[in-house]
């Protein structure tokens, strides 16, 4: 449009300044993290490093769930299912062949998996892709459902996946689970993936498709009237989220070395939902911080479960106290500050007030 030519000049400078600021901030954040991880690896013990790894994985999980629930406004509770798929994919693909034989003593592994052994990166990618594929398969029939029904349907699918994994002895070793998954996950992997996820989700949301997702969240009917294909966009959002959930599941499998279907129950999904709500639905930075805070706190509050010995008096530990205190904190945050822990940071992140 010839009439637009003059307008373009006005916006040019303002935008690039903001973009430059953003880029500088991102660079600083990455450098700081690299330095912190380097120091951590040098001076911290294994326990603390494990917490760092876990928080990185939860960043990826939190952001991928936020993509569906926070940005696209779909109430999905299926995350644990996609994590399971990713975890088992990486577990089965990276496990050395003799280890597989030992694991599958009850019933031999399916022949086409018996001799497969891949590197970590390809295994992670395959895990992500299979999860994404499953996301599309599950999403297609189910994403047209309204809120609560979608939640139940996705929850149902996650449970189906878990039960299937428990009963396919020759594929997943059933209830026995997998042991001896090689520990490839280190802080560089877990936080490397976290940063890739941060980058991906940020750029996705900033672009036109991200705005389309948010439009669907705000008002589906209006979004459709403006030409946005609801089905395509919902499935897209779901597919990306499942991809990252699968990769995170794979990282978790390699971190823990041992997985079994019971790990991937609804409680796992709720943990992630917790992080997403605390950090703020639709807020990227908030989710990152909440992931780290929650992971650290869950561990830090462990002392409440143990006995406290003060020398002259011993306060008996009450198992489960940790979760009680944690739940109280959660309730306080949700009641007092519905938008999450962080105030709005500069940028285009749309806030999401509970409806």
């Amino acid at each position: 449009m010839p009439c637009c030519a003059a307008v373009g000049k006005n916006r040019g400078e303002g935008e690039t300044m903001r973009e430059q600021q953003r880029r500088r901030l991102a660079l600083i954040a990455i450098l700081c993290t690299v330095l912190a991880l380097f120091l951590a690896n040098k001076y911290l013990d294994d326990y603390k490093i494990r917490i760092i790894n876990l928080s990185g994985i939860y960043v990826t999980l939190g952001l991928s769930m936020n993509l569906i629930n926070g940005f696209t406004g779909l109430f999905s509770l299926g995350h644990a299912g996609f994590m399971a798929v990713g975890a088992y994919t990486v577990g089965l693909l990276t496990m050395p062949i003799p280890m597989k034989e030992m694991n599958f003593f009850f019933q031999p592994i399916v022949p086409w998996l018996a001799n497969v052994e891949m590197g970590f990166l390809p295994a992670l990618l395959v895990a992500g892709l299979i999860s994404a594929f499953l996301g599309v398969l599950i999403g297609a029939p189910v994403l047209r459902l309204r809120d609560d029904y979608l939640a139940i349907a996705t929850l149902g699918f996650a449970e189906i996946i878990r039960v299937v994994f428990t009963n396919t002895q020759s594929l997943t070793n059933g209830a026995l689970g997998l042991k001896g998954i090689p520990n490839y996950t280190n802080t560089w992997w877990s936080w490397g993936v976290a940063f890739v996820t941060i980058w991906f989700v940020s750029f996705l949301i900033r672009g036109s498709y991200g705005k389309a997702f948010m439009a669907i969240r705000e008002d589906e009917i209006a979004a459709e009237a403006m030409g946005i294909n609801l089905f395509k966009h919902k499935v897209l959002s779901f597919a990306f989220a499942s991809f990252f959930a699968g990769v995170a599941g794979g990282l978790l499998a390699s971190l823990l070395g041992t997985i079994d279907p019971n790990m991937f129950r609804i409680t796992l999904t709720f943990n992630i939902l917790l992080i997403v709500v605390l950090g703020g639905l639709g807020r990227i930075a908030g989710t990152v911080i909440a992931a780290v805070v929650v992971t650290v706190m869950m561990e830090a509050l462990r002392f409440l479960d143990e006995s406290i010995n003060l020398g002259f008096v011993q306060i008996k530990g009450i198992p489960g106290m940790r979760m009680v205190i944690f739940s109280i904190i959660l309730i306080l945050v949700v009641v007092l500050r519905r938008e999450g822990l962080l105030t709005r940071l500069k940028g285009r992140e749309a806030s999401y007030a509970e409806n």
């Binding site: 991906f200 996705l204 036109s208 439009a215 009237a225 030409g227 749309a350």
Partner: protein, 256 residues
């Protein structure tokens, strides 16, 4: 441009609209009036694919030689063909910025795929820049450029109505359906609206079909008017013909 034939919409036992027909020629401004509950918004909803009519056909010809039958198409498909609407009860994307609301209107014409938008490939970057410029231009047209970063829900009512129109214009429509654009406006704003509608019609080469209760607006800008009462078409013709029609007067008796 648009031909509606024998349109009937039944919701269970309720007949919202019965054997409605209408024809809108390219470049016209056509009005749809009638008492409250007459079924006008239902007609809009059927045209845009929100409802599937019980009977009837709708033919849309955005360009010479290209006719589409709209019944059975999804709303987003119909929008892509070139029909866009505003809503009687404003449906903006409340938590998003004013600029983003208009920006989203252009999304349906985006040629780049989603991965190129994440990777910010040059093809996508260029499209995004063009959409930004177009969105800013439309905002300036409705006088909201200074509010571009404000949350849409924070705008006063009149501005929200204007924003909805800009958003619809962003979809590059051929046919624009306006559902009570003058609702809640004072005489001054109504005057500006009339001028605005005529201005955008000329500039963007639009055809306009509007529902309105403000008689001054409809009578002044419409070339042709259809009158609905209880779902039935009771009159059609030029503004002066409709004004003199006995059935129309009877339908509106006692109503402003």
């Amino acid at each position: 441009m648009l031909r509606i034939e024998n349109l009937t919409m039944r919701f269970g036992g309720v007949v919202a609209c019965s054997s409605f027909h209408a024809e809108i020629k390219p470049g016209q401004i056509v009005g749809l009036i009638g008492p409250n509950g007459a079924g006008k918004t239902t007609v809009f909803n059927v045209i845009t694919g929100v409802y599937r009519p019980t009977e009837g056909q709708i033919f849309f010809t955005p360009r010479e030689g290209e006719t589409h039958q709209l019944v059975g198409l999804t709303p987003d498909r119909i929008a892509k063909l070139g029909i866009c609407r505003t809503f009687q009860n404003i449906r903006l994307f409340g938590q998003l910025s004013v600029l983003d609301n208009v920006f989203i209107g252009s999304h349906l014409r985006l040629r780049s795929n989603v991965l190129s938008s994440v990777l910010r490939l040059p093809g996508y970057a260029r499209e995004e820049r063009e959409i930004y410029e177009k969105s800013l231009y439309l905002l300036e047209k409705i006088g909201l450029q200074d509010f571009k970063d404000e949350k849409a829900s924070s705008l006063p009512y009149g501005m929200q109505r204007r924003l909805e129109m800009a958003r619809a214009l962003a979809t590059s429509p051929k046919l624009l359906l306006l559902d009570e654009p003058a609702a809640g406006m004072n005489p001054q704003e109504t005057r500006e609206l009339i001028d605005f509608i005529q201005e955008i019609k000329e500039e963007f080469g639009l055809t306009i079909f509007l529902i309105e209760h403000h008689m001054e607006v409809v009578m002044e800008i419409s070339e042709r008017i259809y009158v609905l009462d209880h779902g039935v078409l009771i009159a059609e013709g030029s503004p002066s013909e409709v004004q003199r029609n006995a059935k129309v007067i009877e339908a509106y008796l006692g109503v402003g």
